[in-house]
């Protein structure tokens, strides 16, 4: 299956769904900072890869898939579960890229400017994730 961009999906998402994601994302970032301050960077660092928004995103995907099926008179429970499963399998691949991001930041940050390291590591996350996704698709 080819990668496609569907910009109409932005309009399908309601304002309170965007607000919920903003709240979840902001909260976990603030909580990660508080944990690091309270328990130190070793424990705090674990939460930099906390699946903060994953439950909210998965619930939205499930809801949208069900709504699409219900519009044509179907229940859509199975289809919604399969779509959430596919999204989660993508996140599993993305988390391998996230591991590469963390390794690069850990090794390079003490020696190079932060913006260079964070930009480079983000590019590496994207490249590794997309490459692994392509490889998995071909297997």
């Amino acid at each position: 299956m080819k990668i496609q961009v569907n910009l109409s999906a932005i309009a399908e998402t309601r304002w309170y769904e965007y607000a919920a994601r903003f709240l979840f994302g902001g909260s976990i970032t603030a909580i990660a900072g508080i944990i690091a301050k309270e328990y130190g960077p070793v424990i705090g660092g674990l939460f930099l890869a906390f699946p903060a928004i994953f439950p909210a995103s998965a619930t939205l995907i499930e809801k949208h898939e069900k709504e699409q099926k219900e519009r044509v008179g179907l229940r859509g429970t199975k289809r919604a579960a399969d779509t959430v499963s596919a999204d989660a399998s993508g996140a599993a691949i993305g988390s391998i890229g996230l591991t590469v991001f963390a390794v690069l930041v850990w090794r390079a940050l003490p020696y190079y400017p932060a913006w260079v390291v964070l930009t480079g590591a983000t590019m590496a996350w994207l490249a590794v994730s997309v490459l692994l996704w392509e490889l998995r698709k071909r297997l």
């Binding site: 990668i3 961009v5 569907n6 910009l7 999906a9 998402t13 994601r21 903003f22 709240l23 994302g25 902001g26 909260s27 976990i28 970032t29 990660a32 900072g33 690091a36 960077p41 070793v42 705090g44 660092g45 674990l46 939460f47 930099l48 890869a49 906390f50 699946p51 903060a52 928004i53 994953f54 439950p55 995103s57 998965a58 995907i61 429970t77 579960a81 499963s85 596919a86 999204d87 989660a88 399998s89 993508g90 996140a91 599993a92 993305g94 988390s95 391998i96 996230l98 591991t99 963390a102 930041v105 850990w106 090794r107 932060a114 964070l118 590591a121 983000t122 996350w125 994730s129 996704w133």
Partner: protein, 108 residues
């Protein structure tokens, strides 16, 4: 400050996840380094590079835990077709167990 930057970055990556198809590709953005980007930049400014690098080292364990968590959610949803909210929130214990298990074994 952290709240606003984190909220904006997480929302931005979530929007990217919304617009791409197929969903397995869009899912990549569910594991974007959004919280890390929001946190590490501020940490470098306030606590210094070595402190932030220590956080990044621990983040490796968190990312491995994310892999286990996402793989588990994918398997359960495919196999049992349960409610997404129930599966994704209850499975956070898997992330916690893996992340703190790795911390106990390698980082303590």
């Amino acid at each position: 400050m952290r709240f606003i930057i984190g909220g904006m970055l997480v929302s931005s990556f979530a929007i990217l996840g919304d617009i791409f198809k197929p969903k397995s590709f869009a899912g990549l953005f569910g594991a974007a380094p959004s919280v890390a980007l929001a946190t590490l930049g501020l940490t470098v400014a306030r606590e210094g590079r070595w402190y932030a690098a220590t956080e990044a080292r621990s983040m490796i364990a968190g990312a491995v835990a994310f892999f286990v968590y996402a793989w588990w959610v994918s398997w359960v949803m495919m196999r049992y077709k349960w409610k997404a909210l129930a599966v994704t929130t209850s499975s956070i214990v898997i992330w916690m167990g893996t992340a703190f298990g790795l911390w106990y074994l390698f980082l303590r």
